[in-house]
Amino acid sequence: MSIPVEQARVDAPLGTMLWLRNQMRNIAPFATLLCLVLFFSLASPSFPTLDNLANILTQISVTGIIAVGLTFVILCGEIDLSVAAVANATGIVVAYFTAQDSYVNIANMPLPGWAAILLGLASCAILGLVNAFGLTLVGIPSFIMTLAMMQIGAGISALLVRGQIAYAVPPVVSTLGSGSVGGVPWIVLLLGVFLLVAHVVLGYTRFGRYVYMVGGNREAAEYSGVNVKKILNAVLVISAVCAGVAGMVGVAHFGSAQQNEFDTYLLDSIAAVVVGGTSLFGGRGGIGNTIVGLCVLGVLNNGLDHVQIDSFLKILIRGLILLAALVINVYAQRLRDSEARTGG
C-alpha cells in the first residue's frame, strides 16, 4: 500500500522518544500487522501465498467499504452503530426492486436495474439523513441515535423480505459483487476506489480538513466560523451511503439477500477503524490507519482458519485483540492530552 499512514508531523524540536510517542497510534497497529503476518506465515505454509492474499483482500472488502464511511464519523468524534443495519436494508431494497425467480416468495416490485440501484442509494442516504437530523437538529447523541437507526434498518429489512431469501440483484451490482477482471475481483477494486477517494477527500479537500478540525476540537471549529452541524450531517450521510454500497455489493457477493445477514459487520468495521489507530475521540487517524486496521482484522480472521485452532477460541482471540487496540487507542489519547496540558 502506498498510502502513507498519516504523514509525519514536522516537529523539529521534539526528541526521537517524543516523536515515537506521538506516532504510537500509527506504529502500534502496523507492528501488530507485521507480527500477525510473521506468525501465521511460520505457523502455516498455506498462509503466505498469493492466492491467499487475494482471499484476504476479498474477505475484507465489504467490511472495508463500510469502514471507509465510519472513518469519517469516528474522525469527527462520533459513532455510527447503524452501518450494518443500513447495509442490510439497502441490499434488500435493491433485491426487492429486482425481478426475482418465481420460486422466491416475496411480493417484490421489479424495476429496471438502474432504478433499483438508485432507490437503494436513495434509501441509505435518507437513513443517513435521519441519523444526521437526530444528532444535529434534535440533539440526540450519535451513540443512541444510530442505535435506534440500527433497529429501524433491521425493521425495514424484515418487512421487505418477511423471513424469505431473495437472490437476484441488477447485473451491474452482481458483477461488482462477485465478478472479477483480469483475476482481480471487482469488489476489491471497488474497495480500492473507495479508500483512494476517501483518502483524497480527507487529506486534500477543505471538507476533509473540517472533518479533522471538528474532531480535534469541536468548540474551536465552531468559534472559527465552521458550520459544525453541516460537517456532522455530511459524515453521517457519507457513512450511510458507504454502508449502503457495501450492502448492495455484499448481497451480490454472498449470493443472497436476507435478514440479519450483515450483523457481524458492525463490530468488524468499527474494529477495523479503531484497531488501525484512528482516535475514538476524533481528530487523529485517517484512511491509512483504516487500511492497516482492515489488514490486521483480515489477516487475523483468515490466519486463524489456516492454523488448527478451536473455532470458538477464535472469537475470544478477536475480542482480546480488539481490547488491546482500545487500550492503545485510549493510552495514545492520554499521552496527547497530557502533552497538550503542559503546552497550554
Binding site: R9, V10, D11, A12, P13, Y204, T205, R206, F207, G208, R209, Y210, M213, G216, N217, E219, A220, A221, E222, Y223, S224, G225, V226, N227, K229, K230, G283, R284, R336, E339, A340, T342, G343, G344
Partner: protein
C-alpha cells in the same frame, strides 16, 4: 498579631521552581505564611501566583525547592495529601453542586451518618446551620445552593473548606464575583478565621481589597517574588509599580490614572443590537458598535457578558431582540452565519478557539479556508498567509509548522487573533483578551487592538478585569445583572468609578 516568635511558620517555601514545557513559571520563589495571618498575593496574570498556590495545594508538584508545613517538610503528590496536611483551596470558579442543598454542599463527601450507616439529615442540617452561623452567615441549610446569589455560594464554599479542617486557606480571586456588601461579609468571615488562628492566602486583582484586609502583602512579577511587606507600610502606587515594573505607561495608567476616553460618535455604526435578551442571562441589550472604535463592556463575573459575546457571534441565539449588521437586520443562526456577516470572535478561553495538536498554520487558516481554498486545499497559500501573521504579530517561535500546544499563553492568544486578521472582519469581539498573560504580551495585545481600530475595525472588548477595559476601550458600557446600566462616553473615567458603577 500575637504569635510567639518561636512558633514555626504555618507554611514556608524556599527556592521553589516550576516550568511548563520550557516556560519558567516560578523561579526560585521563597514564601512564608505565619499562623493567624492574612497574606495578600498580587501580581499580573501569569506572574506565578496561581502556580505557587497550586503547588501548595498539591495540584502541581514543584520542579525544585522545599516546602514545610508547621515546621515539618512535606512533599505533596496530590491534592489529597495537601488536604490531609490542613491546606484548603477555594478556586475562582465555584465548585459547589447547584442542585444540592446548602447543607449537602457543606458536607459534600463526608456527610454525618447514624449508627446504621445512613446519612443523618437532621444532624447535617443543624451542624451546617450552627457552623455557618459561627462564621456570621445566616442561610437556611435546606435551600438549594444554586438558588442563592453567587457571592453567598462562594462564602459557603469557603465555609466548606474551613469545616473540612483546613488551617491554611487559599482564596483565589474571592472578590471578583462579589458585590460590595458581599465583600464586607467575606472580610468579616476572614477576620473571624484569623482570630481563630487560621492562616489565609488571599489572591486578588483588587488592590484596595488586598491592602484593606491583608496583614502582609507579597508581590509577584514574571515568576519571581519581587517584594513582601506589611500591608500597613505600603500604598497602592508602590504595589502597582512592583507588579508591572517601569515603562508600561498605558497599563500603569489603567490602574491609577484617569483615562481619557475618545468616543467617536460620528463614526458609522457597523452593527447594532436592539432589545437583545437571552433567558435570564441578559435582557434588553441595545447598543451601537461603531467602526474605528473600541467598545469596552465591563461587568462582574456572571453579569451576562459571556453570554452576550456568544450571542454576537451566533453561538447562542437570543430569544428576544434583533441584530442589525451593515444597516440590514440579520439573523445570526450559527457561528458560520456570523462569520459570513463579517463578525469575528475570540473567546476568553484559548482552548476553545485553538487546536493544540495542530501546527500554527492550520490554526490560522481554519477560519479563512472558505476564502483561500475551493474544494481542494492550498497548503502553500495557508502557510504563506499564516507566516504573514506570525511575522506581523511577532509570534514565537516564528515557524508556522510549530505545534500550537508548545507555544506560550501569550503567543497562543496571538494565534487566536491571527485567525481573523488575514481577511479583517467588520466587527471583532474579544472576550477577556488579556487574561492569563504577562505584561509584555498584554502590551502586545493592546498595540494590536489599537492598530486594528485605527484601520477601521469595530472592536468590542468584554472583560471582568477593569484594567483590560480601561487600557483598550474608547467607550465603556457597564453591564450589571444582564443589563447595560451605564455608559461612559466622553471625558475621563477611573477604575474606581467603573467598579462603583458595576
Amino acid at each position: 498579631m500575637s504569635q510567639s516568635s518561636t512558633a514555626p511558620p504555618a507554611l514556608e517555601m524556599a527556592g521553589v521552581t516550576k516550568s511548563f514545557g520550557g516556560v519558567q513559571a516560578l523561579q526560585g520563589v521563597d514564601f512564608v505564611l505565619q499562623p493567624g495571618e492574612i497574606h495578600g498575593l498580587v501580581g499580573e496574570n501569569g506572574a506565578g501566583k496561581s502556580t505557587l498556590m497550586k503547588i501548595i495545594a498539591g495540584v502541581y508538584s514543584a520542579g525544585g525547592g522545599s516546602m514545610t508545613v508547621d515546621g515539618r517538610e512535606v512533599h505533596f503528590r496530590s491534592p489529597r495529601d495537601a488536604i490531609a496536611a490542613g491546606i484548603g483551596m477555594v478556586h475562582q470558579e465555584l465548585s459547589t453542586v447547584p442542585d444540592l442543598t446548602v447543607a449537602e454542599n457543606v458536607f459534600l463527601g463526608k456527610q454525618p451518618v447514624d449508627r446504621a450507616g445512613f446519612v443523618s439529615w437532621s444532624k447535617m442540617r443543624s451542624d451546617a446551620r450552627r457552623q455557618l452561623a459561627d462564621l456570621g452567615l445566616k442561610v437556611d441549610p435546606r435551600q438549594r445552593i444554586g438558588s442563592l446569589p453567587i457571592g453567598l455560594q462562594q462564602l459557603i464554599e469557603i465555609a466548606r473548606v474551613v469545616f473540612s479542617g483546613a488551617r491554611i486557606i487559599i482564596l483565589d480571586e474571592p472578590t471578583s464575583a462579589l458585590s460590595p456588601p458581599e465583600v464586607e461579609l467575606l472580610f468579616q468571615v476572614l477576620r473571624r478565621l484569623r482570630a481563630a488562628g487560621k492562616s489565609i492566602v488571599f489572591i486578588s486583582h483588587f488592590l484596595d481589597d488586598i491592602l484593606r484586609i491583608s496583614d502582609t502583602v507579597t508581590i509577584f512579577r514574571n515568576g519571581r517574588r519581587v517584594a513582601t511587606s506589611p500591608a500597613a507600610a505600603i500604598g497602592k502606587g508602590w504595589v502597582i509599580e512592583q507588579m508591572i515594573g517601569r515603562g508600561h505607561a498605558d497599563l500603569e495608567e489603567s490602574y491609577t490614572g484617569e483615562i481619557k476616553l475618545e468616543t467617536k460618535p460620528a463614526a458609522p455604526v457597523v452593527m447594532r443590537t436592539e432589545g437583545l435578551g437571552f433567558g435570564r442571562a441578559f435582557q434588553d441589550v441595545t447598543m451601537d458598535i461603531r467602526a474605528g472604535e473600541v467598545l469596552g463592556i465591563y461587568g462582574f463575573m456572571g453579569c451576562g457578558q459571556i453570554e452576550l459575546a456568544r450571542a454576537l457571534f451566533g453561538k447562542i441565539n437570543p430569544d428576544r431582540g434583533r441584530f442589525i449588521v451593515g444597516g440590514k437586520p440579520r439573523r445570526l443562526r450559527n457561528t458560520a452565519a456570523a462569520h459570513r456577516a463579517g463578525i469575528a470572535f475570540v473567546p476568553e478561553s484559548r482552548r476553545s478557539m485553538l487546536f493544540g495538536q495542530e501546527p500554527i498554520y492550520k490554526n490560522v487558516s481554519i477560519s479563512i479556508l472558505d476564502r483561500i481554498a475551493g474544494v481542494l486545499l492550498r497548503p502553500a497559500v495557508e502557510r504563506k498567509l499564516a507566516g504573514r501573521q506570525v511575522e506581523a504579530l511577532g509570534i514565537r517561535p516564528p515557524n508556522v509548522e510549530a505545534r500550537l500546544g508548545a507555544l506560550s499563553g501569550g503567543n497562543q492568544q496571538k494565534v487566536a487573533l491571527a485567525k481573523w486578521l488575514n481577511f479583517p472582519p467588520d466587527v471583532l469581539v474579544l472576550s477577556e483578551p488579556t487574561r492569563g498573560m504577562d505584561v509584555g504580551a498584554k502590551d502586545d495585545v493592546v498595540r494590536i487592538v489599537r492598530r486594528l481600530r485605527d484601520e477601521g475595525l469595530a472592536v468590542v472588548v468584554m472583560s471582568t478585569e477593569p484594567e483590560t477595559v480601561l487600557s483598550l476601550a474608547d467607550r465603556i458600557l457597564i453591564m450589571k445583572k444582564g443589563e447595560i446600566v451605564r455608559e461612559f462616553g466622553d471625558g475621563t473615567v477611573t477604575k474606581d468609578r467603573l467598579l462603583e458603577a458595576a
